[in-house]
Amino acid sequence: MAKSPVKRFALLFALWLVLSQGRLDGVVFGAAAAAGAAWFSAAMSSAIGPRFGLLSLLRLAPGFFWRSLVGGLDVAWRALQPRMPLNPGWTAYSCRLPGGAMRVALGGELSLMPGTLVAGSDGDRLLVHCLDIGGPVEEALRAEEDRLEAAIVP
């Protein structure tokens, strides 16, 4: 989430507007709730240093949805095949992104991509479970991390 309290407030207030479908009679409550939540969020935040730019993330969205569609089709195809083509296995991937929100975002994204599932990290290595360990796993992981890294604003 954004770093400055003002941005946090704006995002949470936008959430309120979407929930209340733009009704104007509740904006006071929405503003109060968003302010309280933004304060908590800023107080609890441990994120220092680099972070994702909102616009850059939005630019990644189409590709993300496309690959998660491929991921779903891939797993559906494997599950419904009578002979169930699976070659599961583990790989440890050396991750460049720093721990915290970024690595968790990468892990969550990878868990929706074709054939990969992240089971936490060991130091700087992500433990990745693959449905087909024989495939080009390392390349796919690297490409995903590169894309996310490009969304970082200094």
Binding site: L15, V18, L19, Q21, G22, S68, L69, G71, G72, L73, D74, V75, A76, R78, A79, L80, M84, L86, P88, V104, G107, G108, E109, S111, L112, P114, G115, L117, V118, A119, G120, S121, D122, G123, L127, H129, L131
Partner: protein
Amino acid sequence: MIADVITVTLISIGLFFFIAGTAGFIRFPDVHSRLHALTKADNLGLGFVVLGVVAQADSGWSVLKLLLVWLLALTAAATTAQLIARFALPPGERP
């Protein structure tokens, strides 16, 4: 009428993914493979159901609200998948 056809088609596609995810959950050999099936297929299923309902929405706000529901479910699923996957590691391998 056209909206209804779109809705029925999209929700049927969504149901297909739910069924495929459940088939994977039942058939796949180990916890982690099963998690793949549940996380990826069910999210796609929910996504198509949401898109199907979007075709019936009466305002832009409703569309945004429905997409928000999907986005939150997506975030929750991607996170819990990592948590369960980590917890299901054999104790020796758990970092």
